[in-house]
Symmetry: C2
Subunit: 215 residues, 2 copies
């Protein structure tokens, strides 16, 4: 109920998994991560953090209430908080880590749309190769479905067709086709095991006691 955008939530959990952070910093990282024209306002982020906290996935490490006087004292320490305001640094709880792992693994239809796919891809290093392939293939067939729809509806079309409309459609088609080729390349690389080894943190295989995590 209090749940804010699934993609955003996943991204926040993922970033906090890497390192504890406060909202302001999180936002900057999120903009790069969700990328490409997204802005992400505080009006989205802060309520999301609150909801995640209420659900017990993250906790706030408020670094001492810090009255004006205490702040001056703290400043003397060289590795001290050195923050501006009462920064609220969030970190993942055990439940949060678990939720993140589950959410990443999930490769249902929700994982194929633009937003969701981007975030999942960004955290691919934390998954195993079969999961990666599943998600990449899902994304690809979703795009191919789109291509099919558009191709048929423009073909059987006495739809308005001046040269600009056509040019726009051609460009859109080409963009999607390009992404399909990209995905195909990634899938091939994944299958030949080319990528799995490049990932610099093999530590991602921490809790792999159960080998039954294939499906």
């Amino acid at each position: 109920m209090t749940r804010r955008g699934a993609a955003l939530e996943l991204a926040v959990l993922g970033l906090l998994h890497d390192a504890p952070m406060h909202g302001y910093e999180l936002r900057k990282q999120l903009i790069v991560l969700l990328g490409w024209g997204r802005v992400l306002s505080y009006g989205t982020l802060y309520p999301c953090l609150k909801a995640l906290g209420k659900d017990g996935y993250i906790v706030a490490d408020e670094p001492a209430p810090k009255s004006a006087k205490a702040a001056k004292a703290a400043k003397t320490g060289p590795e001290a908080v050195r923050g501006r305001r009462n920064r609220i640094v969030y970190r993942l709880t055990a439940e949060g880590k678990e939720r993140f792992a589950h959410a990443l693994e999930e490769s249902g239809p929700s994982a194929w749309d633009d937003e969701s796919f981007g975030v999942r891809f960004a955290f691919f290093a934390r998954t195993n190769s079969p999961t990666r392939v599943r998600i990449l293939e899902g994304r690809r067939s979703r795009l191919e479905e789109r291509l099919e729809n558009v191709r048929t509806s423009t073909q059987r079309g006495r739809e308005r067709a001046d040269s600009y409309t056509l040019e726009l459609q051609r460009h859109g088609l080409e963009s999607v086709e390009r992404e399909v080729r990209w995905l195909t390349e990634l899938i091939d690389r994944e299958r030949s095991g080319g990528y799995a080894e490049i990932a610099e943190e093999p530590a991602a295989v921490k809790k792999n006691d159960k080998t039954s995590e294939t499906s």
Copy 2:
């Protein structure tokens, strides 16, 4: 107040400018026009049509209230309505045409973002070359701004950088760069007058009494 999404409104006005249509049909055309993964539900379209009607930009030609008996009678005519339910066919009023023209001409910041740009581009055949160039250049500099932001923020970045994250960013960057090249091509073509002549309907210059429509 009653105004629904500026991009959608523009698209509806544009399509109805071509030919009167009922909602169901409009939706299909809009999906192709706004294209690329958009779905557009009735919950968006119908309220929008109502609002446009209330503002006097479109009117409904209800083709005779058509009681069950009247329908049978009507069916006999070969070129009769042949519709299922009480189709409501909308057409543009004079005010609607005017509004459409003004909205198209408008090349403020609102015209640079994804949605808005796409729709405007689709109706480029109804504008003049200077307007087209203005919009194309605006769009391009908006994209270049994005590129700049991302480039600097990833450079000065000790942002999380595993190979997947990098790959995602590389692909995104490339996509935007590709669109910039596309725009540049279009602008060049526009400047050399290559495109203006291709447009098959020079009838778009109907009401051009005033030659002062340059700005």
